[in-house]
Structure formats: C-alpha cells, structure tokens
C-alpha cells in the first residue's frame, strides 16, 4: 500500500526538468520575408544569411487575421483565435455594440462612498488580461524548465510565472490608454483638443514663461474621476532657442529639437496620502516664434509600477536599476504623434531609435544571464517602422515623396540591420545545446487604399441608418437602425451578423438564414473592384466556423475579411463609423500594413536546426518548444514540432 501510494504521489508530481538544453527565440514583429531576402541579397544582413545558409529559412504561416495580438496569442498558446479568444485588436460587446481593446482591460473600482467631492473606493480597481488559454511558459513552469520571457505581446498583466517576464504590446500607459501624448502650443492655428492618440493643449507664453499641466490617470478618489494633473513650468530664453523646464523637484534645460531623459512624475490622488508614479520624456519642438512642446505618454514607472508589468513584481524595478528607465508602454513608438503631424519624420525617427536602443540594452543585459531553458525576446521596431516608412520605399504609394525618400528611404534597412546585429550577438553564444528560433508574426505590404467596410455594407443594404450618416460622428454605429440591420463590420478584419440571441437587437436567425447571408456577403465582397484601378480589393473571406476551433470560436467575427495587397480597412470603419466613400486614398503616414489576406503576409522562421515541416505556422512554435524539452503536448494545441523527432 505504501509503495503504491508513493508511486502514485510521484506520478502526480510534475516532472522536474534537469538539463542544460536551451532555446533562444527572437520574436521580431513584422519582419517581412521579401524585405529580408532583399536585404540579405544586398549583403546587409550577414548574420541572417549565415543562419539561413547553415540552418533553415521558411515562410511562417501567420494567424487569421494576421494581426499582432492574434498572431502572438497563437504562438503563446499553440491554438488559433478559437482557443485563445483574441480575434482582432478590437472586439465588441454584443450587448452594447461598443468596441474595446481585445487584449486587456483596466478598470477603476466599481463602487465607492461619496464624501463631498471625494470618493472612498470600495475594493480595488483591476487590470485583467483577456487572452485565454495557457501560455507555453506556464507549462514550462509546471515541468521546472527555466524561462525568461521579455515583452511578449498579449501578456498584460503578465500571467503568473516562476520565470522573469516583462509585459509587452497591450501594456497601457498610466492613463490606461495604449498611449496618449500631449502637445502644448501657443500656435492659434493648431486646433486644440483630442486627436487620435493624443491631446493638443493650448498655452500662453507670458513673460517668457509657460505654465501648463501634465495629464495623469483619472483620479477615482475625486467625484467624477477627473484626471490627476501636475503643473510644470517652461522658462524660455528671450533670444536663444533654449528653455528651462521645471516639473515637481526636477529641472532640466532643453534646446530646440532636443529630447529630455526620462522624467519622473508623481501624480497626487489624495494630497500627501495617495499617489501614482509615472515617467515621461519631453521634446522641445520649437521655442520661437511659436512655442511647441511634446510630452510622451506617461509610462508606468518600472521602478514603482502602478500596474503589474513583470513577474516577479520586483523585476521591473531591478531591471530599471540596472539599465535605467525604459518605455513600459506596450506600443512604445509614438506613431500617433507622427500621424497627427505633432512629430515629423526626423523627430519620430529619433524617438523610434531610442525605443530600439532601450530594447537592445535590456537584451544585452539579460541574454548573458540565460543559461538553460527558454529565452524569448520581442522586438517591435520592424513592425512599427514598416507601418510608418513604407511610403518612402514604395514609389507607388500615394504618400511617396522623392525628397523624403532620399533622406529616410534607408531607414527600414537600418532597423533590419540592427536586428541583424542582435542576431549576431545571439549566434556568438550558440553551442551544441542551443536551439535558435528567429521568427516574425507576419510580413508586410503597402497600404495604399482604404476600404470602408461599413460604408459598403450600408450601400448594399446590410446596414440601415435611422438618418443620413453623420461624418463627424465618433460614436460607434450611431444612428444604426438595428431592427433592420443584418451585418456590421468592427475591427480590422471582422464582419459580424446581427444575430438574434447574440446581439442586443439581433434580427438574423442562426442556421440556414445566417449561412445563406454569410455566403451572399462573402460572394459580394470577393467581387468588389476598386473603381480607380479595377483591382480586387478583397482576395479572401473566411467563415469563422471553418477556420476557428476551440471554446471561444463562437465569440469572434462571423467572417474574416482578407484584403488584397495595397488595401486595408479604413481607420473610421474599424470603429463602426461610416465615411462617405467606400474607397479612400491613404494619406496617413501609416503607410504599410498587414491586416489583410493572411496568405499574402506570411512571417519568417529561421533556425540553426533543420526545419522539417514544409509549411510551419505560428501555432507550431509552442509544440516545438515542448518537444525539445520532452514535455507532452497539452490538449487543444493545434500544431506540431517543426523539427523531426529523430533529429
């Protein structure tokens, strides 16, 4: 009996891995196979060329749809969106039809006791990760395999882990947004107010001094939760283009066109009793004749994180003590400031280079500490800079500017080369116990023309409005007559039926009616031609029931719209608005994209070992890791190891 009980006890214990094997994974968001091959042929990527020559180089099948939160969730869980529940950057609540960010949710305390202008919250607020499914490093923890996971997207707040993890894309700024910059100016020609991803704030220069306020998180201790504000002063030299900035107990001098270091800000929520700490950077864009000052989104201070951004919780502080402050916001490159014209190409590029420099610094500090198990490090630079600078490498793009291209046309190559240098550092550390995987979640393509799906649905009678569409309306699906609307678009690739029993005012019956409606819309969408060039705007439409498996498969869109190369859903339609035209020229600096037909934008997979799978996919990565450590593949995972079991 004792022997049997002991045997049972031992068999129930997770296997403790005791080896010196290691897997290093470089996750490079948006590395495009075509660009990579071009730069390799040009001899600009010697380390990638060496790796491809000695090991393997494959296209990596991306997710459906090919959006980063979906793709990285595929990698994390080894399942598609039906298994992890992330279908798009943007989801909707079927009961309110209001959009929300898909990967995480930060909420203030729900209840409070009101005392005059003050509110005593009952219970705390919450930061909730919305991705479902078990992360591969949680399984590694179960088997005692050490792991270090840096800046993994769709991992905020980070899942409990025995390893060292730092959250990545999806981590909000201190205001709970995906990044809100502030721009202070006395230029009367600049319209004040909210712009996408930022706030334009008018100021007055009086006696060579500007007094303004930094905008912090909503103060839930105050009635109405107004934002916490902290004053700062900019004292301007009357003649020279230089100024002194005073914020709290910090003073610094900036020349025109200069960025500050990270500045620590403490937002008082209850005077002398409660505060939260953040960090931000100032950029003095202009001093004379107009005053223009950019302040980055207030990032969570890694030394005093107001929200959980690492495991263990103290790790972000330890890291900041080692490397200094760094961007904690998930999408660190301020693409919105460039799109809004607040930063120009040169200024944005400086900021984007700083982001990569910080990532490389963290990488350089942490890689030598890795000795066995799994090391994953995520780089965002190729993705975000391909989004912003595609217009300068593609003469066909509507925003191509030959003069700008002459100055910044090599920027993407420069970022690729920096990633090649990172790979070079890794290759120097490889030994016969090491497996290296270098992969991207998707490739890239031009974004020349917008397709406004909701306008198309409106024009084709699938959406009925109560009144004429209001082009200035920012409310999602304002004036939609849901009692007569059969389908609507939301997110970058999603099309939903207004299904009875699911949507608040659903009218389409599930079953034959919904099937035939989906087939009808699919056929029509595949037949859409761009009147400008007669090209097909949409090359693929997938039924969710055919591409998703898993417990959450019913929660996503009903159709996945796959746009042709050069096309993407327009900015307004993705949030449930109705621009006037179905097709629009893309004049935004955001000029490259990948949210399209997934077969057109595969990622890359390189390894120092022979990859046997002819068409590896993102969902194969977690099974590959488990196979390397002899861990049984958990149920529900779709993929298989990309390596032959005999090798």
């Amino acid at each position: 009996m004792v022997c049997a009980a002991t045997a049972l006890l031992i068999s129930c214990q997770p296997r403790r891995w005791q080896g010196d094997q290691k897997i290093i994974i470089l996750g490079i968001d948006g590395m495009d196979p075509q660009l990579l091959k071009t730069f390799m042929v040009e001899g600009k990527m010697p380390n990638f060329s060496a790796l491809a020559q000695k090991g393997s180089f494959r296209l990596l099948t991306t997710s459906i749809p090919p959006q980063s939160p979906v793709a990285w969730s595929n990698l994390i869980t080894g399942m598609n969106a039906g298994g992890h529940g992330i279908f798009d950057f943007i989801h909707r609540d079927p009961k309110t039809l209001q959009p929300y960010f898909s990967a995480s949710r930060v909420e203030p305390p729900k209840h409070g006791i009101h005392l005059g202008n003050w509110v005593i919250p009952i219970g705390g607020g919450s930061a909730e990760q919305l991705r479902q499914g078990k992360a591969f490093w949680e399984t590694l923890d179960d088997y005692g395999v050490p792991n270090m996971i840096f800046r993994m997207p769709s991992n905020f707040p980070p899942v409990k882990s025995k390893g060292y993890t730092l959250s990545g894309m999806g981590t909000p700024d201190l205001r709970g947004s995906y990044g809100t910059f502030s721009f202070y100016t006395d230029d009367p020609m600049t319209a004040a107010g909210a712009v996408e991803g930022g706030q334009i704030i008018p100021v007055q220069v009086e006696e060579s001094q500007v007094t303004a306020k930094l905008i912090g998180p909503d103060n839930t201790f105050r009635k109405g939760s107004p934002p916490a504000l902290e004053p700062f002063t900019v004292s301007i030299d009357p003649l020279e283009a230089v100024a002194k900035v005073t914020v709290q107990d910090q003073k610094f001098v900036l020349r025109e066109g200069e960025w500050s270091d990270w500045i620590h800000i403490q937002f008082q929520l209850i005077p002398s009793m409660g505060s939260v700490k953040g960090i931000c950077r100032f950029y003095l864009k202009q001093v004379h004749p107009r005053f223009e000052l950019y302040v980055s989104p207030i990032n969570i201070d890694p030394a005093h994180p107001a929200l959980p951004i690492s495991t263990p919780k103290s790790y972000s502080r330890e890291l900041s003590e080692e490397v200094g402050e760094f961007y904690t916001q998930g999408i660190s490159e301020d693409t919105k400031a460039l799109s809004a014209g607040v930063l120009d190409d040169k200024e944005y590029l400086e900021q984007a280079r700083t982001v990569l420099a910080e990532h490389r610094q963290i990488f350089d500090v942490e890689l030598p500490k890795f000795h066995s198990g799994v090391f994953f490090f995520y780089f965002s630079s190729l993705d975000l800079n391909s989004h912003m600078f595609w217009r300068l490498i593609d003469p066909q793009h509507p925003e191509y500017d030959a003069a700008l291209a002459a100055r910044y046309g090599s920027v993407l190559r420069e970022f690729y080369q920096q990633i090649d240098q990172v790979l070079g550092e890794v290759l120097q550390r490889m030994d016969d116990r090491s497996t290296l995987l270098v992969l991207s979640d998707h490739g890239f393509a031009p974004y020349n023309r917008s397709f406004n799906l909701n306008t198309w649905l409106l024009n084709n009678g699938y959406i009925i409005l109560k009144s004429e569409p209001n082009l200035n309306q920012n409310q999602a699906f304002a004036d939609v007559d849901w009692s007569r609307t059969r389908a609507y678009g939301l997110g970058l690739n999603g099309l939903y039926l207004n299904l009875r029993g699911r949507e608040r005012e659903g009218i389409v019956e599930a079953g034959t009616a919904s099937d035939s409606l989906l087939n009808e819309i699919k056929e029509k969408l595949l037949g859409v031609r761009d009147p400008q060039n007669n090209q097909a705007a949409i090359t693929r439409v997938d039924r969710a029931t055919e591409v998703y498996q898993g417990p959450y498969a019913q929660q996503g869109p009903d159709l996945l719209v796959g746009y042709n190369r050069g096309y993407r859903a327009g900015w307004q339609t993705i949030l449930g608005n109705f621009p006037a035209d179905v097709f629009e020229k893309n004049t935004n600096p955001w000029s490259g994209d990948h949210c399209m037909d997934y077969t057109l934008v595969p990622g890359v997979l390189l390894s120092n070992r022979a990859i046997d799978t002819p068409n590896p996919a993102l969902t194969d990565i977690a099974p590959t890791i488990f196979a390397q450590f002899g861990i049984p593949q958990p149920g529900g995972m779709m993929g298989h190891s990309v390596f032959s079991p005999n090798r």
Partner: protein, 268 residues
C-alpha cells in the same frame, strides 16, 4: 532558474553601492547608543525611575478601580501631573543632546542629503544676480573637465541664468561666473562615492548658509546672489522602502536607543 535566484539577497548585496546605507545604519546605531549614555549621565536617573514608577501605579489604579469613577478621575489627574514631572526631568538632558544632534545632522546632510554627480551626467548651474542689468553679461567659465552642452538660459523674470553642463570625469572642480567685472566661484563634485556636497553658495542668508550651503559666503558686494548646482537628492532604499536619510536616521537611532537602554539598564 536561469537567472540566479537569491531569496536572501545577501550574496548579491552590493556593498560598494550601498556604502551610504551601511554607513548611515552604523552611525544611527552608534548615535542611538551615545544618546542613551549621554541621557544616563545628564539626567537624574533615580528621579526618572520614581516618576515612571508613579506613572505605572496610577495607570494600574485606572485598571483596578474601573468601577470607582472618583478614583479613576484622580488617577488620571495624577497621570497628567506625573507625565509633566517626567517630561521636566527629561527636558534638560534632551536639550543637552539637541544641540550636538542638530550640529551632527547639518553636517551629515552634506554627505547624505545629496548625491554627487557622476561622469557624463548633465546638470544645471543656476546663478541668481542682484542687478537685472548684469543678467546678459553673466558668463560661465569652466575647467577643461567640464563642458557646457546648451546655450545659457536667461530668465529675466527670476534674475537668473542657467547653464547645462556635463562632466567628463570624477573630481572636485571650481566653476567661475563672471559678472559686472567680478568673478565668483562654486565647487562642483563629480564622484562615484560618498562626498561632501554643498548644493548652493550664497550671499548673506546666514541661517540658510549654515543649514544648506557649506561653502564660504559670497562677498556682500558680489553681483551674484547665489550659485546652485543641480545635485540629485539622495534617496536611500531600505527594507523595501525609499527613505529620506533623516527619517531613516531617526527611526534606526530610536530603535537602537531603546535596545541599548534595556541592555544597559538606563532609565529613559
């Protein structure tokens, strides 16, 4: 674990980086000891013992005779009087200790209050002038190891000129400011260790100089009223919290004092 795990945190404790903390803890403990010893020899220990015994007796009376209101009220009155007597007995030794402690804190603040600059760190030199007319004439003269990294910012509203400076390497340097035909100087400390720091040099302002400056006063006829260096204030990490050194000093020396008082049998 791949990364060295170290629950106790001892093996990787960086003694060099934590020199200020270790020194401060040691000083606080020694001063806690000295305080109780000074108290022992400057106070009437027997009288303090009697005062405390009486207080204990009155407190006991409050507990024992809870149901007899007149007794309880009388006991409270005696507790108040006893407390006054006790404070009177403790006041003289406290005064005797106060002066050297204040002197000590002022001097320790030169070391613990601010951190020296480190090489490559930019910092500000702020000069306030007496006469606004001299604002534009004020010029900064730097030794070769320091260099200016931005044009001077002239702030007429505050009668102030600000320079941004960066140091190449460690050392104690003198920077000079020329204005209205005179030149004044200010010390700048660039060091990785613990160093005596004077964040400001002042004209007049005797008490401010005593408590903050630590440098000779500027001449009464100096065109420059003050020169400040932007040293970062020191924050000491201890027990999972960040402390101002004076708060940590008082907390540790009080705890040490209470421990030594018990060990040495001193009535406080």
């Amino acid at each position: 674990m791949a990364r060295p795990s170290n629950p106790a945190g001892f093996a990787t404790f960086n003694f060099a980086a934590n020199t200020p903390l270790l020194l401060l803890l040691a000083l606080s403990i020694v001063i806690g000891l000295l305080m109780v010893v000074v108290f022992r020899y400057t106070s009437d220990q027997k009288a303090i013992g009697r005062a405390k015994d009486r207080l204990k007796a009155h407190l006991l009376a409050v507990r024992l005779f809870q149901d007899q209101l007149p007794v309880v009220m009388r006991a409270y009155g005696r507790i108040l009087r006893g407390t006054g007597s006790y404070l009177r007995l403790a006041f003289a030794p406290f005064l005797i200790a106060l002066l050297p402690i204040t002197f000590l804190i002022v001097h320790l603040d030169r070391y613990f209050g601010w951190m020296p600059l480190h090489p490559a760190q930019t910092f500000l030199i702020e000069a306030r002038v007496a006469d606004p007319a001299t604002l534009n004439d004020a010029a900064l003269q730097l030794p070769p190891q320091l260099s200016s990294s931005a044009p001077a910012v002239h702030l007429p509203k505050d009668n102030e000129v600000v320079w941004r400076v960066v140091a190449e390497r460690e050392g104690r340097y003198g920077v000079h400011i020329a204005a209205a035909g005179q030149t004044v100087s200010k010390q700048v400390v660039v060091s990785a260790g613990l160093a005596r720091i004077s964040p400001v040099r002042l004209r007049g302002n005797f008490w401010e100089r005593v408590f903050i400056s630590g440098e000779p006063a500027l001449a009464d006829n100096s065109p420059v009223q003050s020169i400040a260096i932007g040293y970062p204030p020191r924050v000491i990490a201890f027990a999972g919290m960040e402390w101002n050194w004076i708060v940590l000093f008082f907390v540790v020396s009080l705890i040490a004092g209470f421990i030594f008082k018990s060990v040495l049998g001193i009535q406080v």
